[in-house]
């Protein structure tokens, strides 16, 4: 399409080789009653805002609003996650450790302010990725200083063109149609800034709750540091504030496999299963000196506390405390049990007294303990079955 059809009747442009001449021409045109719409220059010409009668940009307001939003989000995020949703004591610091929240709050304030003011700039200046850009003012990005203006009511363009040539214009012509719209974005209206600040209010109120939530009646004076000097500490057996039911350690979900890479055992807990294990399982390890040593080590660390170092309950802690008597391992009843059954008890525990050690000891260690118990039984003096060994549960 021909640009002639779109020539504006009263708008024109002129280009100059120098910023001073452009400034001069703008002042001249405005004095003569023309309306200078805008100038197009390769770099910002200082004094042009005043010459055009353009008011200073209000983008600093947008920057302030976004900074407040960033601060509010950072405060809200840190307070809610650290003190409300996940109240875990870390490093002995109070849950609401305001000094420790300052760095992240500062960074997010800067981040939101920077990105926000740039986004506002793009919106205000209607800058967006464009596939085709009409070259309305050729040279404006290179070495030409161009103005666009609207003729005063009763003036013809040729007369103005001659004046402009006298002022140093390299060329001037009527303007191809272009859109000049008045800008108006939220930060140009006080209400817009107010609304955004209002949106930040809940987070600031949350911030104001800090001294209330952090209240400690035993302390006389309010510490400036939000209590950073008085470390919190969790006591042994305290309920956890994080896991449901106050647990401090979660049981593994059902069907969890061992990280040791052992395949699951095809047995469940219970006496019937223990007897089946006795029938079906063989100790896969032969007694060697190394296995004996390992079995002895594990036995003495884990089993001997209750069963005694010799397997005869001698020195048993729970017997000494008068709780109950564990099964005597060197008794004939236990001696007659197959290896698989002892292994099952070591894994799943007995029917009434003993707990299972399947989650603490590796499968190899449990078999080695069985080997060691066999050695204990061989070394034990053949005595009559003690009175305690009433049950068969080991």
């Amino acid at each position: 399409m021909s640009s002639i059809e779109h020539l504006h009747r009263s708008r024109f442009r002129a280009s100059f080789p120098d910023p001073e001449q452009l400034l001069h021409a703008v002042a001249h045109l405005r004095a003569a009653g023309h309306r200078v719409l805008d100038t197009y220059t390769p770099f910002p010409v200082h004094g042009m805002d005043e010459a055009l009668g353009q008011r200073p940009s209000r983008l600093p307001r947008a920057c302030l609003a976004f900074a407040a939003l960033g601060l509010a989000l950072a405060a809200g995020l840190q307070i809610w996650t650290s003190a409300v949703d996940y109240p875990l004591i870390m490093g002995g610091k109070p849950l609401l450790a305001i000094p420790a929240f300052i760095p992240v709050a500062f960074e997010l304030t800067v981040l939101l302010a920077g990105l926000g003011v740039v986004a506002s700039f793009f919106v205000a200046a209607r800058m967006r990725p464009r596939l085709r850009i009409p070259d309305l003012h050729p040279g404006a990005n290179d070495d030409r200083f161009i103005l666009a203006a609207e003729l005063a009511a009763d003036v013809q363009f040729p007369a103005v063109a001659r004046e402009l040539a006298d002022l140093g214009a390299l060329d001037s012509s009527l303007l191809v149609e272009d859109r000049f719209r008045r800008d108006g974005a939220f930060w140009d209206r006080p209400a817009g800034v107010g609304m955004l600040l209002l949106a930040c209010l809940p987070a600031f109120l949350l911030l104001a709750l800090v001294p209330v939530l952090n209240r400690d009646f035993q302390r006389r004076n309010q510490a400036w540091d939000g209590g950073m000097g008085a470390p919190l500490s969790a006591q042994a057996y305290d309920a956890s504030g994080v896991l449901p039911g106050g647990k401090v350690l979660q049981a593994p979900p059902p069907y969890t496999l061992s990280r040791r890479g052992e395949p699951p055992l095809a047995f469940a807990a219970g006496k019937a299963e223990a007897e089946r294990a006795g029938r079906e399982l063989q100790n896969p390890y032969q007694p060697t000196q190394a296995r004996f040593n390992r079995g002895k080590l594990v036995y003495e660390r884990v089993c001997a506390t209750c069963h005694g170092r010799e397997g005869d309950n001698n020195g048993s802690v729970i017997v000494a405390r008068g709780a109950f008597a564990p099964t005597v391992l060197v008794s004939p009843a236990v001696r007659d049990m197959p290896d698989g059954r002892l292994f099952h008890v070591a894994t799943f525990g007995g029917p009434t007294k003993m707990k299972g050690y399947g989650d603490l000891l590796s499968r190899e260690d449990r078999w080695q303990v069985v080997l060691y118990i066999r050695e204990l039984q061989k070394a034990a003096k053949p005595v009559a079955a003690p009175a305690q060994a009433t049950g068969v549960q080991p």
Binding site: P42, M90, F122, A125
Partner: protein, 466 residues
């Protein structure tokens, strides 16, 4: 500068005479027109790169490939491929991280702080220095991510709603502050750099010969047409971003220093760390800017834009910050002695006289002694001398981080856990790879985008230093 001794400066005095008194000199040599600036600044992006550019790219890509190989080794075989042990659990990776972050800070200092101080000579170097910042921060970011061992889970360091019950990151940990600070720094630096690029992208778009290039540049130049309304807002936004970046850059290295200072390791647990690290960052960053600019100006023929006066101004910053760094070294010893803390005293004696004394004295020699040559004007205005000295400063600042980290860790409280650290080939290869990444990105940058901010240089073309 020999070649302008017989020409007149902008104010009509013989240049040599004017230079002696240091005034009435234009910021840009060669008495250029606006058109000339456009042609010369955009020329490298429009012609085919010369053979030596390809050779340089081949070298840097080889370094990058070596680093990539080492990273793959680390990830597939594990962190055990590094020389770390229980006592020295942090060494090469964190040294390189702090080194690269520090390098980046000069770019922000030049683009933001010198802008706020109205140091107009910054216009010739700010674009390249900001690009250097971005590339350096990218290099820095790779190290902690690799050290995670499973970098594809790096997003765990961000607070995002997850399906693991209530589980959030620890906002009281300096390591998390670090994640937030470095990410913010990268994003804001990228934004600042891009905003500064838009007018030049528009010029590049107007000059584009091929349709593809024109389309891409149209997308990125956002319809820029040089309108004064836009310029007016642009200058406001630029000023605001400079104002935001200035405290940001200080906060970033402060937080990096807190990774160490908030721990209880003697040699780390000191309040001097934040200013000490920030100044060290500026020192090393300016040295790296000088190293790069001295190569770039001669390779790309930009001596009239990046003049010896620019170099001289930067060497003065290097000298000043180098002396502050030297002062910090002395202060650390005084603090250790004055604290009366035997562990603190031992750490510093061990630094200077222990097993890593070679690293300590390399650091002191490079960082405290070598900048002293910049007291001489002849040295400040001779590019090859500046080049050699800034290389020394870069080496010294790398060793400073190594000394702080390794010497403080390797002698633990319990003599039974004392250990030595030495990097493995894999670690050295990753460091070489990070230099490869940095220089590859820089080489590509010089051929794809205008290395000098043409619109800013045009604005100071008629400006004469008084």
């Amino acid at each position: 500068m020999a070649h302008d001794a017989d020409v007149l400066s902008a104010s009509g005095i013989p240049a040599a005479e004017a230079e002696r008194y240091g005034h009435n000199l234009p910021l840009i040599d060669g008495n250029k027109t606006y058109r000339q600036v456009t042609e010369e600044v955009f020329a490298p992006t429009e012609r085919r790169p010369p053979l030596r550019w390809w050779l340089a790219l081949a070298v840097t890509l080889s370094m990058l490939s070596l680093g990539a190989w080492a990273v793959v080794q680390t990830l597939t075989r594990g962190i055990g491929t590094w020389g770390l042990n229980r006592t020295v659990g942090w060494a090469f990776d964190i040294t390189n991280f702090v080194f690269w972050v520090g390098i980046g800070h000069a770019g922000t200092l030049i683009s933001a702080i010198l802008f706020l101080f109205r140091q107009r000579w910054r216009t010739s170097i700010n674009r390249a220095a900001e690009a250097m910042t971005l590339f350096a921060v990218m290099c820095a970011g790779t190290f902690p991510i690799i050290h995670m061992g499973r970098p594809w889970l790096a997003f765990w360091a961000t607070p995002y709603p997850n399906s693991r019950g209530s589980l959030w990151v620890n906002f009281k940990s300096p390591l998390l502050w670090d994640v937030v600070a470095i990410s913010t720094y990268f994003i804001i630096s990228l934004t600042f750099w891009y905003i500064g690029l838009i007018p030049d992208l528009a010029t590049q778009r107007d000059r584009a010969k091929t349709k593809l290039k024109r389309t891409i540049l149209s997308l990125f130049s956002l319809g820029w047409n040089g309108s004064n309304r836009t310029w007016s807002r642009y200058e406001t936004v630029y000023m605001l971003l400079a104002g935001l970046s200035t405290p940001l850059v200080v906060s970033v290295h402060t937080i990096v220093s807190m990774d160490f200072a908030t721990s209880v390791i003697p040699g780390w647990h000191a309040t001097i760390f934040p200013p000490y690290f920030v100044v060290g960052a500026v020192f090393s960053g300016f040295a790296m800017v000088l190293t790069l600019m001295i190569i770039a100006r001669s390779v790309m023929g930009l001596e009239e834009y990046i003049t010896t006066r620019h170099l001289e101004a930067m060497t003065k910053v290097v000298l000043a910050t180098g002396m502050i760094v030297g002062m910090a070294y002395a202060t650390e010893f005084f603090t250790a002695w004055y604290s009366g803390n035997p562990y603190e005293r031992y750490v510093f004696l061990n630094r200077a006289l222990g097993s890593y004394q070679w690293a300590y004295w390399t650091m002191v020699g490079c960082n405290v002694l070598s900048p002293q040559f910049f007291w001489f004007k002849k040295v400040r205005t001779t590019p090859w001398m500046i080049f050699i000295l800034t290389i020394f400063v870069n080496i010294g600042m790398w060793f400073e981080r190594f000394v702080i980290i390794v010497t403080s860790l390797h002698r633990d409280y319990l003599p039974s856990s004392w250990a030595m650290y030495r990097p493995t080939f894999i670690e050295v290869a990753i460091l070489i790879g990070s230099f490869g990444l940095f220089f590859t990105l820089f080489l590509v940058f010089t051929r794809v985008l205008p290395m000098i901010a043409a619109s800013e240089v045009k604005g100071v073309l008629k400006h004469v230093e008084h």
